[in-house]
Amino acid sequence: MARDRPSPYRGGVDHDLPLRGGPGRNAPAIVTRRLTKHFPGVRGSLALDELDLEVHTGEVFGFLGPNGAGKTTTIRLLLDLIRPTSGSATVLGLDPRRDGVALRTQIGYLPGDVNLPPRLTGRAYLADHAAIRGLDLRTATGDLADRLGADLDRPMGDLSIGNRRKVAMIAAFAHRPRLLVLDEPTGGLDPLVQQTFRSLARDAADEGRTVFLSSHVLDEVQHVADRVAVLRAGRLVAEDRIDALLARLTRTFRVRFGDTPPLDRFSRVPGVKSMSVLTGGDLEFVLDGPAGPLLAALAPLHPLDLHGHEPDLEELFLGYYGATHVGRDEPNATVPAEVVVE
């Protein structure tokens, strides 16, 4: 770590606390208790409704939800950009408002909307951040810039969204913070850089740092997160290990045949939740168990084509509600195994 210059901005917290071991080893990185945010004067203004959340130290925590669910509101509360209407948050054992400066020495934040000074080069921008954090710029950013392939010499207003995000990502990771708060981190990044990002996040967690990763796309978190929480309309609707959540997930497969077989052939196949005939004769299956039995039933019929599509969050919710009853006022939204013909 490059912490060779004193910074007048830094608070009185020891940055070099061991990340693993020592006191507080198992202390949660983030705890919220009935955290609520109400924006006065805005219709449907309850942005966050009594959120209880616990993020463990050293895990990658996926924070999922559709747009407008309250994810960014939660992040802004944790970072003290906005203040709660009621409830509380504790981040790395500190109060985001009272201990804000000390806390922010240990947080790296990647905003969802990457707004950076357009006339400044990435290098100048990162140099300012390094100076405020008391870091040596070259030591802090060199390796990251190389790994991400970031262009630090052009004015950031001339960069694509993806390239701006790379600069913001360097700013978030450079000081090796104990907590990374990443809001929709991979938007605009090409697949190779997304892969680099995942390994950066994983490396951070392996070193005992905590990664709080918000997204509205399951795919963005499922390959990297240990646990996920799902937020909808300001409420926590699910919190579980990612593998447990994925196991409950409904997936959709579309199958094309030369001759469309009758649907009733599949009504007893385990795991098939619903099926429908689409215009053109394709069959669509919604599955909430292992795919094996369905594939076994399909194979003798010689399907011409088969593809599954990435489950969206709505399906995730449906799958989740089907298995548990988490939502406080949500009806049991299980999709019945019915046959629908379009």
Binding site: P8, R10, L81, V101, Y109, P111, H129
Partner: protein, 269 residues
């Protein structure tokens, strides 16, 4: 001193500073360059001016006992009463509202997540505005002193220095109000509007009060231009105590801005 935010705010306005410096210099030089042609006819012009209604004379910044075409009267009416404050105020208000502008553009979000308090951020940005406006006033002073000397406009250097100090603290008072509005609301447009309205209203109140219009005489103490009192400063060559009122407004608004920005939610871009 590791004042990163302060240094960045200055660096961001390098071109701004050069542009405004050139503008102010050109403006001052052109105005003072006409002095010789007025000087030769100053007696006739002063007589003509004396026949104008007092209210009109007041609008030109002329008080009792000062001829507008005397050296001090000329420098006051042509440079320090309206034009120099106007240029500095326009420049300064824009700079003071820039933090609210950054908030509107979403640029403050990442800055607020750095280990630096919001209050310190306000202080460093305000310090940058102070340095920038002082620099412009200094440029104006040098341009005034040099061109006055070149055309034998005989006004003492102390008068010019104190008039420039006056226009500087006047600008700080108004930009302080702009900063405070920006800190309270996070809205650049509103910050500019409030500061501009205060400046224009103050100018009118002071001018009309000087013209002896009753209601404006009552309002006069509320006007920042009343405390600026530049004609008296130029005549006396010493600063009036009222400069301290302007300095106090600047200080109080800055402290209040520091407090205000810490008490509210950052706006969404």
């Amino acid at each position: 001193m590791n004042a990163v935010v302060f240094r960045r705010a200055l660096a961001d306005r390098r071109r701004w500073l050069i542009g405004w410096s050139i503008g102010i210099t050109v403006f001052v030089v052109l105005n003072i360059a006409f002095w010789p042609s007025f000087r030769d006819q100053s007696d006739e012009l002063n007589d003509m001016f004396d026949k104008m209604p007092e209210s009109l004379r007041a609008l030109f910044g002329m008080g009792d006992g000062v001829d507008p075409f005397s050296p001090v009267g000329y420098l006051s009416s042509q440079v320090y009463t309206l034009a120099m404050p106007m240029l500095l105020l326009i420049a300064g208000i824009g700079a003071a509202a820039s933090m609210a502008g950054d908030e509107e553009n979403g640029l403050l979000e990442t800055v607020f997540t750095l280990p630096i308090s919001r209050g310190r951020l306000v202080l460093e940005r305000s310090a940058a505005v102070v340095v920038l406006t002082s620099s412009l006033a200094a440029v104006g002073l040098v341009a005034t002193a040099v061109s006055a000397r070149a055309v034998d406009l005989d006004v003492g250097i102390a008068s010019m220095v104190w008039a420039s100090v006056g226009v500087t603290v006047l600008t700080w008072a108004v930009t302080g109000l702009g900063s405070l509005t920006g800190a309270l609301t996070g809205r650049r447009g509103l910050a500019i509007t409030v500061a501009a309205v205060v400046a224009v209203a103050s100018y009118l109140i002071t001018s009309l009060a000087d013209a002896g219009i009753g209601v404006f005489e009552t309002l006069e103490p509320l006007s920042v231009f009343t405390h600026y009192d530049v004609l008296a400063t130029l005549v006396a060559g010493t600063p009036p105590w009222s400069f301290l009122v302007l300095f106090a407004i600047a200080s109080i608004t800055t402290i209040a801005a520091r407090w205000a920005v810490d008490r509210r939610d950052l706006r969404n871009a």
